[in-house]
């Protein structure tokens, strides 16, 4: 991932509705305005239909 951005912006780039997934970094659930980037390893866990299991 290049640069830093908010979770909701990253999910938008991936075509994922933020309300359909939980985004987790280092065992911490992230809210939609959390800033991620660089070497962050994120788990995107679908909880609602329309979500995606993609890793970012």
């Amino acid at each position: 991932m290049d640069g830093k951005r908010r979770v909701k912006d990253l999910l938008s780039e991936l075509g994922i509705l933020p309300s359909t997934v939980l985004v987790i970094r280092d065992n911490e659930l992230l809210t939609s305005d959390a800033v991620v980037g660089g070497d962050d390893v994120l788990e995107v866990r679908p909880v609602m239909s329309g979500g995606s299991g993609a890793s970012a």
């Binding site: 359909t20 987790i24 809210t31 305005d33 909880v47 609602m48 239909s49």
Partner: protein, 179 residues
Amino acid sequence: MAWPAPVEALWNDMENVRAQLLKEAEGLSQGQSDWRPSEGEWSVGEILHHLTLAEVGTGKLTSKLLKDAPQPLPPFPPDLKGFSPVPAPPPGPARAPEVVYPERGHSPERLIADLKTIRERSRQSVERLAAVDPRVLRWRHFTLGEMDLAQWWLLHVRHETDHLQQLRDVKAAKGFPAS
């Protein structure tokens, strides 16, 4: 006894978001807790009260479904590796139903204590969830349609994460009291 992996993950998510919520809420004054960004928006205190009511509701639903289901219930399937996603909501804004509509003016200390108390009860609910096949326990959500018991608890995590963001937005809003 160890819980099945999907239940363990659910509980960890519940605790994870709750820890962040309490971190944001602890130490707030009454004025900060009651402050609204605008008349139509909820205060931090109202968000906390709403989350307590929602968790009480999901706990009551758990008890009801377990009590009313034909016995014996099937055990948690060893091959169930994950829960079904919650149905997608219909488009457009949703308004909280009356039963979880919050009151304003509770003390922040009381709101936090209530959240902690209800979470202890929720642990018992999740414990019971871990012992049965949650897919056979079903109840209709007012906008999402019929969901099984695991989906109700998954929704609880998603719901609390959304309100954690809302709470942070309130605290970051212009005019939020400094103390």
